[in-house]
């Protein structure tokens, strides 16, 4: 790893990190604080939830206990809003951190220094993981503290940890998709639009697939389908196979980046 490049990348991505980080933490905390007022309404909210169409409830991953159980409430927003936000942050940062050099024609400058392409990826990957980890840690910590504050009864730490583990896996996979997809277009063209589509589209496919059996095939193509944020499931806990599969695919995508970038003709 090259320290100077690592620090440069931290600086270059700091602004976007601060913006996304604040939004993610603000939404996490704000939504959880709203739980206080829902909890006061208690049973009437429960009745309203039971009156909702089943498809909608399933599609959005809502839990019937959403307004009485704080983790059920958190999981609904975590699995939708937070996952889409961190997913977009990870996928766009992953996609830009390497391809930006070609797009802005600075790869010629960088790669005429004595640095191998592998070292370039190492340094950029380290900066990417640093910022992404900070984002995930801050989101988890702020959510945990807010849940602790709004919950009147003790809550299950195991369920919170499971949600966080699955959320992290999904975010890492989205990021790795960004890294890999950024090497497809020539001249490192920006593909931010399609990338946001990958994340949001993935969520939508997963949501539709839950509504009816006819659309079930859609679940296969969405990373969202392979992790569950439904805390009402009996024995909701981390499935080691899911962890291994997600990490293996993430690692494979990153390996692909190393192989492809080391053979690529660089423009600009």
């Amino acid at each position: 790893m090259n320290k100077a490049l690592y620090i440069l990348e931290l600086k270059r991505n700091l602004k976007s990190f601060l913006i996304w980080g604040s939004v993610v933490i603000f939404i996490s905390v704000f939504i959880l604080l709203l739980f206080l007022s829902f909890a006061d309404m208690g049973d009437s909210m429960q009745v309203m939830m039971e009156g909702m169409p089943e498809g909608m409830v399933k599609g959005f991953g809502m839990n019937v206990d959403i307004y009485t159980n704080v983790l059920a409430y958190y999981s609904t927003y975590f699995g939708l809003h937070i996952m889409i936000l961190t997913g977009i942050f990870a996928i766009t940062m992953g996609a830009n951190i390497l391809s930006k050099e070609e797009r802005e024609k600075t790869s010629e400058f960088l790669l005429t220094r004595p640095i191998s392409r592998t070292e370039v990826i190492n340094s950029k990957l380290a900066a990417y993981f640093t910022l992404l980890s900070i984002l995930i840690v801050l989101q988890t910590l702020s959510s945990y503290l807010t849940i602790d504050y709004v919950s009147e009864v003790p809550f299950d730490n195991g369920i919170f940890i499971t949600l966080s583990v699955y959320g992290t896996l999904l975010t890492l996979l989205h990021g790795a998709l960004g890294w890999a997809l950024s090497l497809i277009p020539k001249r490192g063209k920006a593909i931010t639009g399609p990338l946001i589509g990958v994340v949001v589209g993935g969520f939508v496919c997963s949501a539709i697939s839950k509504i009816s059996d006819d659309s079930e095939f859609l679940r296969w193509i969405s990373p969202f389908s392979y992790v569950s944020f439904d805390v009402s499931l009996p024995n909701y806990s981390v499935n080691p196979i899911t962890v291994i599969v997600f990490l293996a695919i993430t690692a494979a995508l990153h390996a692909l980046v190393y192989i492809s970038y080391n053979r690529r003709d660089l423009d600009g």
Binding site: N2, K3, A4, L8, R12, E104, K105, T106, S107, E108, F109, L111, T112, R113, P114, I115, S116, E119, R263, D265, L266, G268
Partner: protein, 291 residues
């Protein structure tokens, strides 16, 4: 000792030829000119040497090391001056130079400062606010500040004003004296003539000639335009040294291939009202010698 060796270096972009069978040798201490018109394959050759792109076939070595497998080792002792200068935004000139310096073990701060002064470069300014010429100056400083053993330059004098060009040539000569071998790519023959000792001529991706600058100069091609007192007659100019003759009333233009003394003697016999003698363009040289 050879600093750069290429053997049948070839690069195709799909079916389009970039360069084909390029074989050159640059020896230690050379100021090697690599000349050819735009699109001839000069940048493709340089980009292949620097491993920014991969050769389709053939091989190349710098300092005896393979340019594909040992590229980052090679680059420790290479300076590169690009034709188009692109740097990271939001960096001051000093930041950029510092950043570049971290990569090279033998960066010379004092020399860097000296170069900045000689090129009147304000290092506090933001890189993205700089004019094209100033960016070029930054590129010159960063290519030389680690006292490279080999300096590779791609159209280095474009966008430099004549005063800075002269300073630049001076700096190159000094660096060469201190042991830096130079690879100088250009489409401007005048530049190459001024400082290079050996040249290769490349056109349409293929090396047309490898020459000593002396033999190239001994051909002494000049473009001559005259305005005569009377209408020009074709038989006055029927000589073997004269080619590409054009006559319009009193005006005559032609390419002359012999010593300047001969040319002056020849012109002296004519009644001349006006006279211009110019360097030939590369195209003129190609037309004259290679077709």
């Amino acid at each position: 000792m050879n600093i750069i060796t290429t053997e049948k270096l070839t690069k195709f972009y799909g079916s389009e030829r970039g360069i084909e069978d390029v074989s050159i040798n640059v020896k230690q201490g050379d100021i090697f000119g690599f000349i050819g018109p735009n699109g001839a394959g000069k940048s493709t050759t340089i980009r292949t040497l620097l491993n920014l792109i991969f050769p389709s076939s053939g091989s190349s070595q710098i300092f005896g090391k393979d340019t594909v497998t040992e590229s980052s080792e090679i680059k420790k002792k290479v300076g590169y001056l690009p034709s188009e200068v692109n740097y990271y935004d939001n960096m001051s000139v000093q930041d950029l130079l510092n950043f570049s310096a971290t990569f090279f073990p033998n960066s010379d701060n004092k020399y860097c400062k000296e170069l900045c002064e000689r090129f009147t470069l304000d290092t506090t300014r933001e890189v993205n606010e700089l004019s094209l010429g100033s960016r070029k100056k930054v590129a010159i400083v960063q290519s030389l500040m680690h006292r490279p053993e080999l300096l590779i330059m791609d159209e280095p004098t474009s966008s430099l004003d004549p005063l800075m060009q002269a300073e630049f040539h001076e700096v190159l000569k000094e660096a060469n004296k201190d042991g830096t071998t130079m690879f100088f790519s250009s489409h401007i023959l005048g530049d190459v003539q001024k400082i290079c000792n050996r040249v290769s001529i490349i056109r349409n991706g293929v090396i047309e000639a490898n020459e000593d600058i002396g033999s190239l100069l001994s051909r002494q091609l000049k473009k001559v335009s005259l305005v005569l007192k009377d209408d020009a007659k074709e038989k006055q100019f029927a000589r073997k040294e004269i080619s590409k003759l054009e006559l319009v009333n009193q005006r005559v233009s032609f390419t002359y291939a012999d010593s300047p003394n001969e040319l002056l003697r020849f012109i002296a016999q004519l009644e001349v009202k006006d006279l211009t003698i110019e360097e030939p363009t590369l195209e003129d040289i190609f037309m004259h010698y290679y077709e």
